[in-house]
């Protein structure tokens, strides 16, 4: 729960006002809930032939296996995207100009492209040039291409967030560029980036739902198929939303706890990732700023 902004205690008039506002607001909320409930009832959305299928284990199993596919694609994409991101980050920090430009060019292109368009390209465009990808591979390739760029920027920000003194001390000790990277910079930067990486995993889980449009058999796809089969689209999609919320909320909490623990243990602050226009990153920032 968020803390009220005004930290000082309210006087009697303030307390009265807050009480009045609470009652009014609470009443309005309750009224809206009742209206929504009645509307659903009136339209027969609570009728048995719509809800009963969802009580069957075989249907629930069908949906949960969809979630398994979601997680599968997200995890695989996460691992590969981290590899791609690492390459890109090192590329952008390279001292060789062409490598820097190439990495920068890649990041610029994939930063601006919608992920769904990338998936469509993999499924509809690539076959025309002879590359046939299964839906799973289309989803993973698109996710890796996009999130590789995002993670690349996160990694770069992580590395840059380190005190300059670290790299200076490393070279003073006689370490080469790669040695200082591998033994000094990256290990420290990696610790700071863990919360951001976990947040990105949450994004990946959400973005896997885009796989529906390229026929990847994940939770959203299965929810829609169930909805058209039984006619209970509203109910099933709501259930799918609830599943997503529970999973992602839990992961976000883990990320936040990691962040707090990190701050306390290593006195490392949150890294500021500039130039990555991804809502998850923005959200994670905002949370870090508030906590």
């Amino acid at each position: 729960m968020t803390a009220p902004f005004i930290a000082d205690a309210l006087g009697p008039r303030g307390k009265r006002r807050v009480l009045l506002a609470s009652v009014v607001a609470g009443g309005l909320l309750a009224a809206m809930v009742v209206v929504a409930f009645l509307r659903l009832l009136h339209k027969g959305q609570f009728s048995d032939h719509l809800i009963a299928p969802l009580r069957q284990w075989s249907v629930q199993r069908f949906l949960l296996l969809g979630m398994v596919n979601t997680v599968k694609a997200a995890l695989v994409a996460m691992v590969l995207a981290m590899a791609v991101g690492a390459f890109l980050a090192l590329g952008r920090l390279s001292r060789t100009a062409p490598v820097r430009w190439l990495a920068g060019f890649y990041v610029e292109i994939f930063r601006a492209m919608p992920l769904i368009l990338l998936m469509f390209f993999c499924a509809l465009g690539l076959p025309k040039v002879g590359i046939h990808l299964t839906p799973f591979r289309s989803v993973v390739v698109a996710l890796v291409a996009y999130n590789g760029a995002v993670l690349g920027e996160i990694f770069r920000a992580g590395i840059l967030s380190l005190d300059r003194g670290q790299s200076e001390a490393a070279s003073a000790l006689g370490l080469t560029y790669w040695q200082s990277m591998g033994r000094v910079i990256v290990p420290q930067a990696a610790r700071r980036m863990i919360p951001a990486i976990v947040s990105q995993l949450v994004t990946l889980l959400k973005d896997t739902s885009l796989g529906t449009v390229v026929n990847y058999d994940e939770l959203l796809r299965r929810s829609r198929d169930t909805g058209t089969f039984y006619g209970n689209t509203l109910q099933v999609l709501t259930e799918a939303a609830v599943i997503y919320i529970i999973v992602n909320f839990t992961l976000s909490r883990i990320a936040r706890r990691l962040e707090v623990r990190q701050r306390r243990k290593y006195k490392a602050g949150a890294i500021t990732v500039t130039g990555v226009e991804d809502l998850a990153v923005v959200g994670a920032h905002a949370e870090a700023a508030i906590a």
Binding site: Q56, P127, F136, T233
Partner: protein
């Protein structure tokens, strides 16, 4: 110590990727075994031999065929969540054709068919790109489409019909729709057809037929019009609220979409269709699927073995690709 932890993490990650990538073929639901849908009155065929180089030979060698079907069309192609199988008339036709390639009964051949969803707008791209070997997805044959793909069949002639509330007896034919509020789907041939037959109809257009059904239930419209089988599906899930007027107008020939120019394959599929007409397998498939949602089994339509014209390729957006025609 820390280095070992990183190494272990990297190894675990690589193992995960390897396992996931190798088992990715389990994504699409395949039809396994007998879903209880067909009663084959004919003993299974022997495995046929095909001339080398034909599509049939290649499919037989590969041991599988990929078919695009609808996943959301009751009676034709619907995915059943409890069994994770696709059910429907189009599905049965696909299995019967597969039996003609791989031999055996439709149930045996079913395990060799990989179904994938072919939504209306994706049917031509999937055929052109080779994503599927054929499309059986309430695919109406028309000349515009014939420029891009070839059609075997038709295997079914759908007729447009009208759906009203069960208590409504005022609408008996399409001309009764003049001046009434009627619902259909944006860009569909149904909408165009009803306007042609009843020019004073007050047409409301939604995105899907289930939305039209909702509007009918509300009373916002008094009738819904599209192909009878689709309406049949809506009637069967309406819990007795709706009924079919059974006054068909227009003919919509459903065909099997194939790659343009593959005349040998088209010939084979047409031959196979004629064979299952004669053997009664077509009729059993119909009564097991569309029959269950209230349609009477018709006589199978004669196949059209047209000679294809020159192939047309274009690099600009074709005018008709925006419509959601079936």
């Amino acid at each position: 110590m820390r280095r070992h932890r990183w190494a272990a993490a990297v190894l675990a990650a690589m193992a995960l990727v390897a396992v996931a990538c190798s088992s990715s073929s389990k994504d699409t639901p395949t039809v396994a075994g007998n879903g209880g849908q067909t009663n084959t009155t004919v003993a299974g065929n022997a495995k046929p031999t095909f001339a080398a180089g034909t599509t049939m030979a290649k499919l037989q060698a590969a041991g599988k065929i990929t078919v695009g079907v609808k996943y959301d069309q009751p009676g034709f192609g619907q995915r059943n969540p409890t069994t994770n199988q696709i059910e429907g008339f189009d599905v049965e036709i696909a299995k019967l054709i597969a039996a003609g390639i791989f031999g055996g009964t439709a149930a045996d051949a079913a395990s060799k068919v990989t179904f994938t969803e072919a939504q209306s707008a994706n049917r031509e791209p999937f055929i052109q790109n080779g994503t599927v070997d054929m499309v059986i997805a309430t695919y109406t044959i028309n000349d515009t489409r014939k420029q891009i793909v070839d059609f075997a069949g038709p295997y079914f002639i759908a007729h447009q019909d009208i759906m009203v509330k069960a208590s409504d007896n005022s609408i008996k034919s399409v001309t009764d729709l003049n001046g009434k509020k009627v619902c259909s789907v944006t860009g569909s041939t149904s909408a165009t057809n009803v306007k042609a037959k009843a020019p004073q109809v007050d047409l409301t257009l939604f995105g899907t037929y289930s939305d039209c059904a909702a509007a009918l239930g509300d009373g916002r419209v008094v009738a819904v019009t599209t192909d009878a089988p689709i309406l049949g599906g809506l009637v069967s899930t309406s819990n007795g609220q709706f009924k079919l007027v059974k006054a068909p107008f227009t003919d919509e020939p459903y065909g099997i979409g194939l790659k343009k120019g593959d005349d040998a394959f088209r010939s084979f599929v047409n031959d196979r269709l004629e064979a299952i007409y004669k053997s009664g397998e077509w009729a059993s498939a119909f009564s097991a699927t569309l029959g269950k949602i209230g349609l009477d089994t018709p006589t199978p339509p004669p196949v059209d073995r047209y000679t294809a014209g020159a192939t047309a390729t274009s690099t600009t957006v074709a005018a008709s690709t925006t419509s959601t025609t079936r």
